[in-house]
Symmetry: C2
Subunit: 202 residues, 2 copies
Amino acid sequence: MASERIERRLTAILAADIAGYSRLVEADEEGTLSQWKALWGTVIEPKIKEHRGRIVRVIGDGILAEFASVIDAVRCAVEVQRGMAEHNAKAPQDKRIEFRVGINFGELIIEDGDFWGDGVNIVARLEALAHPGGICVSGRVQEDTQGKLEIAFDDIGEQHLKNIARPVRVYRVRFDEVTKSTPALPLPSGRNGLGLGRGLDI
Amino acid sequence: MASERIERRLTAILAADIAGYSRLVEADEEGTLSQWKALWGTVIEPKIKEHRGRIVRVIGDGILAEFASVIDAVRCAVEVQRGMAEHNAKAPQDKRIEFRVGINFGELIIEDGDFWGDGVNIVARLEALAHPGGICVSGRVQEDTQGKLEIAFDDIGEQHLKNIARPVRVYRVRFDEVTKSTPALPLPSGRNGLGLGRGLDI
């Protein structure tokens, strides 16, 4: 039967897009593009690679990346958000490019290198619930990373996500806690994330 | 840091062991061994291979197998239990080799090809909750396979599993439902599972 040939895989997915992208582009098209390129080359792509992620899709101002490990995905997201905050600290408020990030894991259907399935829909909704500079994760991500990463989460309750039948428990990464506990987070030698997460999310 | 080098992977795990193994061996050592070898060669190993699983560990009368897809893992378990039931139908009651099966998915630590982590502990506990010939799965397995497989589950509630801090919701595969809905389960051509699942589990 044809359905036997569908490739399925358990994977962690990270969705990210730029908060207020249209506003940024409208205000300064060339400046936004050049900032985006700088962030992409110095923060986003290197961090995804460092945490063994793979970029699955880039659509306009959004990306979808996969990770074999949910711990790698969460670490990557935290470091991307820190890196972007560091970059933004030098830019004026209205020129800042900030990511909203969502993370989930589950079984996806893989076709021609792209992903389909509930897991993709859920992660896009999680991302939309994140504050600019913040990260939202599903309950199972929180469950499987708690105690394994020095990250605190705020439970924002069960959410009814668009086009998803069952409610999904959603958690926000608490960035002040991440900052406090930085020494326990494995970081590449020669770098540190101290003070980068402040004010990223509530 | 050393913790950065740990290999972690999201994976579906299936644990199975023989119900009443000691009793079987005590009653008929040689007969049990020869039956086990027959089941292994004709049902267990071929089914795991067919569903793209990999046997991680064989300890005495138990096995641990991994699957990239939780749907493959559940399909495999259902077909193994059917195959074993078919084999057992020809054997006297006291000579039947029956598997208890547990299925879970989550992030595991991989070291020298073997697996470690909460996920392994949970799946061993799920297996212990299964009836002989039956399958128990965690809530997230039920959640991610419901509507994707023609299998009915019975909710047996939140269980406090040994050495696992948080309670785990547990479901049993309902085998009479599996049997009824066989035509919708993709089966390899030339085979069918009609009538094999009757009486396997409540």
